[in-house]
């Protein structure tokens, strides 16, 4: 399958946006997940709710909110533009933000689950060996949560690849700038005989996802071997 230049552009843009969205979500997602998994504080339920928020609304709503807040006329957007020269609305960076916001809850849940399932006595053991809390976190908690982090990253990347509604609302469908694969697919459904082209793009999306999934799969296998998880047929007894 030889790609047309337009297809290449959309493919590269989608890969770039999904990758950045995942990379951006990771630190914040891990931090949020840890905070929710290990701290009790008043209003925790509200934070949980807030994290979940982008999912429970049709994507145009968060997209529109982003436009209002981060658009060049918006309170945050105008500030960013003025002080840092960063323009998010109608740029690929904005597409990254839209994807990251929509995928964020998907990142948080598995990581949080992994943090909960870790045996805290191992962290205690590390602290009796002189490791300050941040070192315990980096050397024990985080590595033990790797499978959860990878699961979260896979969900986040996949969701970003398929993100349509929020991206459309926030940054629009600008060729070469914000026209990711889903938006390009939308456009092709509006031209005669566009169905074949739309299917080609869908296949590209799937291949991109397969690549990402394969990488995550291999990384996960390594991580699980490190952690001594069962490999079916090899009991750990």
């Amino acid at each position: 399958m030889v790609l047309t230049p337009d297809e290449w552009v959309a493919l590269r843009l989608s890969a770039k946006v999904a990758l950045w969205a995942t990379v951006l979500s990771l630190p914040l997602g891990i931090a949020t997940a840890w905070w929710l998994a290990r701290r009790n504080f008043p209003g925790k339920f509200l934070v949980e709710m807030f994290v979940q928020l982008p999912m429970v609304l049709p994507p145009v709503v968060p997209g529109y909110l982003l436009l209002v807040l981060l658009g060049t006329q918006g309170p945050i957007g105008s500030w960013l533009l003025e002080h840092f020269g960063i323009r998010l609305a109608f740029t690929w960076k904005g597409a990254v933000i839209a994807s990251a916001v929509m995928a964020f809850p998907l990142m948080v849940q598995p990581v949080r689950l992994a943090f909960r399932m870790i045996d805290s006595r191992l962290e205690q053991a590390a602290s009796t060996l002189g490791a300050p809390p941040w070192r315990v976190w980096l050397s024990i908690t985080l590595p033990l949560a790797t499978p959860g982090i990878l699961a979260g990253a896979v969900l986040c990347f996949s969701r970003s690849l398929g993100e349509f509604g929020a991206t459309m609302a926030f940054v629009g469908n600008i060729p070469g700038e914000t026209r990711t694969l889903p938006l390009a697919i939308y456009s092709y459904t509006h031209v005669p005989d566009g169905e074949a082209a739309a299917w080609r793009l869908a296949v590209l999306s799937i291949l991109l996802a397969a690549g990402a999934l394969l990488i995550a799969h291999l990384a996960n296998r390594r991580a699980e071997q490190r952690l001594g998880y069962l490999d079916h047929g090899h009991a750990r007894h």
């Binding site: 436009l67 209002v68 060049t72 609305a89 060729p175 509006h190 031209v191």
Partner: protein, 231 residues
């Protein structure tokens, strides 16, 4: 000089795309084309999208921007019109006459697909037309609304909906449906596509808007089934 940025309703995708190609062939810098629902485009322009030309699928969203002083009202022009047609899956035609006395509800079984009435432009026109013909009362419980005229078209193409109401331009690009009736123009508000320059647009934008009025461009619009605007 920066390329012209054209924000156009999704239903104009083909036509405006072809015109932009011709425009480029005439030696102009390539235009950037952004297609989406008129509502999404209008809200983006309201919030500072770098658009030069806006082409709406109906008057509401052009008015919306005009009220907010986002467009150059002097350049507003209704360049195109469209027709509202009744379609059926290819080969599944049934006798139908677009006439007040005809009992549409009794003429077939199943749903009627069109844009969501009162929301998506095509649905709004469809409701007006059905009302004008006295069909609305019996048909309204059978209406399946869609977010976009393309989805309505897909339902009919797939044979899920035995009958649909779409624009003539949509019916023209699908070979899986056939037109079984056309609504008279006076049965609904005129279907028009207002165009305008967005406030602060560059000089190239004005040229592009002029180009859209040219015979060459109008020929392309007609090729896709648009009619000259009924003023």
């Amino acid at each position: 000089e920066d390329a012209v940025r054209v924000y156009a309703a999704a239903s104009l995708t083909n036509a405006v795309g072809d015109i932009a190609t011709a425009w480029q062939k005439d030696g102009h810098p390539k235009a950037t084309l952004v297609f989406a629902a008129s509502s999404a485009l209008a809200k983006q322009i309201e919030n500072g999208a770098p658009a030069d030309v806006f082409a709406s699928a109906d008057r509401k969203w052009m008015d919306y921007l005009a009220q907010r002083k986002k467009i150059d009202a002097a350049t507003r022009v209704e360049l195109l019109g469209n027709e509202l047609v009744l379609i059926v899956p290819k080969g599944k035609a049934f006798p139908l006459t677009v006439d007040k006395g005809f009992d549409l509800a009794g003429a077939y079984k199943g749903k009627l697909c069109t844009g969501e009435p009162d929301v998506v432009p095509v649905g709004t026109y469809a409701k007006q037309a059905l009302t004008a013909l006295g069909w609305w009362g019996a048909m309204s419980p059978r209406i399946v609304g869609t977010d976009d005229v393309r989805t309505a078209l897909a339902f009919v193409e797939r044979g899920e909906c035995p009958l649909g109401i779409v624009y003539a331009t949509d019916a023209a690009i699908s070979d899986k449906v056939e037109v079984v009736g056309r609504f008279p123009a006076r049965s609904h508000e005129p279907i028009v596509y207002p165009f305008a320059l967005v406030g602060g647009a560059g000089s190239q934008a004005g040229a592009f808007l002029e180009y859209l009025k040219s015979d060459a461009a109008q020929a392309i619009f007609r090729r896709y089934g648009f009619t000259p605007a009924t003023r």
